[in-house]
Every structure is written in C-alpha cells, then in structure tokens.
C-alpha cells in the first residue's frame, strides 16, 4: 500500500486520492481561449520532480504535492496557501 500524507487528514492510502494535474499559473478568466487551451491541455510532463494538484476524495480537500515522477516518490505535500500566494 502506498501512503500519501494529506496536509488536512494525515497519512492515507494512495487510493483515497485523485490526481489533479501539474501546478501552473491559471490564466485570467478573460484571457484568450488559446491561453486556456494551453492551460487545460498542454503539460510539461517531464521526468523529475514536479508540483502537482491532488485531491483527497473523501473530504474534497485539494492540496499540492511535490513528487518525483520518475521514481513515484512523494517528497512533500503542502496546503495550497503555503505555495500559492
């Protein structure tokens, strides 16, 4: 069983979480649709350490994890407000 540390609920089985995509700046609501297409569909998807959105499904809590996507090691998890200011 793989464990992820939810910043709100503590360590939980990975099956309780859903992946939410790479962390990247959100375009302004009135930004051109090209920018929104980039934001929604295009991903860095590179090997190495990435920051990603994750959801703890039972509590609907979104947070940010730093994960090595080559080794599947979760390095750290953060409350969103710790990262996005």
């Amino acid at each position: 069983m793989k464990i992820m540390n939810c910043p709100l609920n503590g360590p939980r089985n990975i099956s309780e979480f859903a992946y939410g995509g790479e962390v990247k700046p959100t375009p302004a609501p009135e930004a051109p649709s090209q920018d929104w297409a980039d934001y929604v569909y295009y991903h860095a998807n590179q090997p190495g350490i990435l920051r990603e959105w994750w959801l703890h499904v039972p509590t609907s809590y979104w947070f940010i994890a730093e994960r090595d996507v080559t080794t599947d090691r979760i390095i750290a998890t953060f409350k969103p407000e710790e990262v996005l200011r």
């Binding site: 992946y19 297409a37 929604v40 991903h43 998807n45 996507v69 080559t70």
Partner: protein, 412 residues
C-alpha cells in the same frame, strides 16, 4: 504465408535474422527518425519503399523494439467510435492482413474475433453506436446479445449471479493479434536492405535549432545534421519534444499487463470489457495475456503493482472463474502517452521540419503499419495526408478534439 517460410521449410534458405553491422554515424541524413520501435521502423521502411528516401537514420537509445513495442499486448482491431478513428485503424488492419507477405517475414497475424462486453444498458447503447459507425465506415462490427456471446465464446461465464452480468457485446469478427516483436524486426530488416541505417544504443540528447528548424541532432555518439526529424518515441514523447522546445498535450501514464502460465487452448476470441477495465486473449503458447486500465496517475517509469493485479483479477475471475488457480508468469508495464481526447497526435509540429508521431495511449501497436506509411508520406511530401489531418498536434488549441474515450475500452 511469407515465401521465406516455405523456402526455409524446403531447406532452400535459412532465415536471416541479422541487421547489417552498425556503421559510424554519418555527418548528415535527409531524415533522422528518433525511436527504433515499430512506428519509427515502419516509417523508415515506407520512406524507402514508397518514396525512395533512403538517406535515413533510425536512432534508438536501447535496442530495436525494446520499448513500448515490446510491452503492448499485441491486439489489432478497428472497432473505434469516431469516423476518423475507424477509418484510420481500418487502413491499418488492411496493411496488417498482408504484412507477412509484404515483408516476407512472419508476423503471426491471426484473426480471432474480438468481443467488447457490455454489462450495463449504457454500455449496450455505446456498443450500438460503435457498431453503426463501424458499419458506416465499412468495418465488420455488430451488436450481439448474451446468447450470441455465449455461442461465440463458450469459455465466458454467462451466469446472472455475478456483480456485472454480461448483457451483450460488440462483436468484431476481424479482430486479430500479431507478434509485436516480429512487426518491428520485419520492418527493420526490409528498411535496412533498402539502405536505411539503424543505429541502436544511440540516444538523442538534444536538438540544435536555427530559424524555426532543427539543423542537427545531438546524440551520445556525436552530432548529425538533418534535413527532417521524425520523432516516434512513445512514452518519452514529451521529453524528446521538450528538447526541441515543443510542448505536447500528453501525460505519460503506466499501462500494466501480465500473462498466466501456459494453459491448454480454451479461449478463441479476444475478450475486452470496457466497463470492468480488463481484457484477455490466449497466445499461441497458451498463456493468457491480460491487461486493464492505465494507472490512476502519471508516472515516467514502467513498474508493476500489486494493486493493479488485484483489481484486474477481481473482475477477470468473474468472467472466467477457472483462471483462479492459474499462476501468473510475468508482469510488466509500458508507458502510455495519454492525450485529453484519447486519440493520437501525428503530423508537423510548430517547427518547420519536425514531425511527430505520439499520443499512443493504449492503442499504438495496432496503428503501426498505417502510421508508418502515412507518416512517411507526410515527411516525404511535406503535406499532411487526409487520414492524419484530424490528429494534428495543435487541434486542442482550436478545440477540435477527436473523442475516442468510448472506444479506448480500457483507456482509463
């Protein structure tokens, strides 16, 4: 049957399995193909055969067909859901039909019939939809009820006393399998005979760009100039495109599979259940080849997990209870390039001489011949063939998706 087989049987020739000895890299090639898997080798073959382009180097970081070509589960079908997808895979099956003869290399193409099971009314509606689209595009495909399913594949458990009883299926009588390694080897040999250079153990480490073009390719064995670059590196697509400054609509997600120990032949058809996320067919050696959905989140390395096997077997044993005592022999994973619309990405990128063949989530092997043929055409003529135009890499910028999730079956 390939002529070489008959000759060999009569003792007139011995099969040649070797490629020409690897030469030094030349300083310049008309076309550099990054990736020596099925797709890259097929493209090299058709470039030489159809277009007379033989000043071609295929660069492979490890060995021929050793990446995702060796990791798929060898199923060939064309019963997709979008007209663009059905048309594309129909052409691929046509090429597969005669591939052994064309290459004079036995790729063990075997028609078995293919059943996509439906366990819910919603799934039955989707199968009906697919059958109608398929028939409209000239592909053999029909919706059948549970009694037909029992007749077509007697090995299936048709009991109503299970969590997900089988209500019917999409029957695709021309569904087939082929030996995936042989497809890569066959293309490699014939391409090499026509002058294509295949360089194994040669990793691409970067591209040199100038004026919106790639002018040279850096490798672990030195730098080569290039007229055009075709990248066909499923699983590493984002990494390689990233070296050229191109961002792709792709997430790399492991796709796991496994085989049982060899059993006596009991299963004729290829069985897929999109609702239960599992599929199975029995190989010529008697092993049951089984797979399921992709992993729940992206990962850039192939690895196998117990979770996957538990989830897969829970459903598999409902379909074929007799498998409960069959030990698993091998397990592995490949890397799937998942696009948001479950369709591939092919054609030119934003760079003038950079061509891409990517986005092969869970459907890459069956596209090998058509993709090789049409990508070769695209590279040689610098025009995107009609059959590829729907799959252009910037289609997401204009919200022109080709939604194939309904027919990727076990895609996610």
């Amino acid at each position: 049957m390939p002529l070489a087989l008959i000759k060999h049987a009569l003792g007139l020739s011995r099969p040649k399995r070797q490629l020409p000895a690897q030469k030094e890299l030349r300083s310049n090639y008309d076309v550099v193909i990054v990736g020596g898997g099925g797709h890259g080798l097929a493209a090299a073959y058709y470039l030489a055969k159809d277009w007379g382009v033989t000043n071609v180097a295929v660069l492979e970081k490890s060995w021929l067909g050793g990446g995702n070509t060796a990791r798929n589960t060898a199923i060939v079908r064309s019963n997709y859901i979008t007209p663009e997808g059905v048309r594309f895979y129909k052409e691929s099956m046509g090429l597969f039909e005669t591939l052994s003869q064309d290459l004079d290399f036995n790729v063990m193409y075997t028609k078995r019939g293919h059943l996509t099971l439906a366990h819910t009314d919603a799934a039955m509606r989707t199968m009906r939809w697919r059958a109608e689209v398929n028939k409209h595009m000239g592909v053999q495909s029909e919706l059948v009820d549970d009694q037909d399913v029992a007749r077509i594949e007697p090995a299936l458990n048709m009991s109503r006393d299970v969590r997900w009883p089988i209500l019917g299926a999409l029957h695709h009588p021309v569904g087939a399998t082929a030996r995936h390694d042989a497809v890569a080897w066959g293309y490699a040999q014939r391409a090499a005979e026509m002058g294509v250079e295949i360089h194994q153990g040669t990793e691409v480490t970067g591209f040199e760009l100038s004026g919106g073009k790639i002018v040279s390719v850096q490798t672990t064995r030195g730098k080569v100039g290039c007229g055009k670059v075709l990248q066909a590196v499923a699983g590493m697509s984002s990494k390689v495109a990233g070296m050229a400054g191109v961002t792709l609509p792709i997430r790399t997600i492991p796709l796991q599979a496994c085989v049982s120990q060899p059993l006596k032949p009991f299963l004729d058809t290829i069985i897929v259940s999109g609702s239960l996320h599992c599929y199975i067919w029995q190989s010529q050696r008697g092993e049951c080849v089984m797979g399921g959905a992709v992993d729940p989140y992206p990962l850039q390395a192939p690895r196998s997990t117990l979770d996957f096997k538990e989830g897969l077997m829970a459903h598999m044993l409902e379909l074929i209870p007799g498998l409960a005592d069959a030990p698993l022999m091998r397990q592995w994973a490949g890397l799937a390039d998942m696009t948001p619309d479950f369709s591939p990405v092919m054609g030119k990128t934003s760079l003038e001489n950079h061509y891409i063949d990517a986005g092969w989530g869970t459907w890459g092997f069956k596209a090998t011949p058509v993709c090789g043929k049409r990508m070769a055409e695209c590279v040689a003529t610098e025009k995107v063939p009609d059959i590829l135009s729907a799959f252009r890499f910037d289609r997401f910028k204009t919200f022109d998706q080709v939604g194939e999730a309904g027919a990727a079956s076990v895609g996610s």
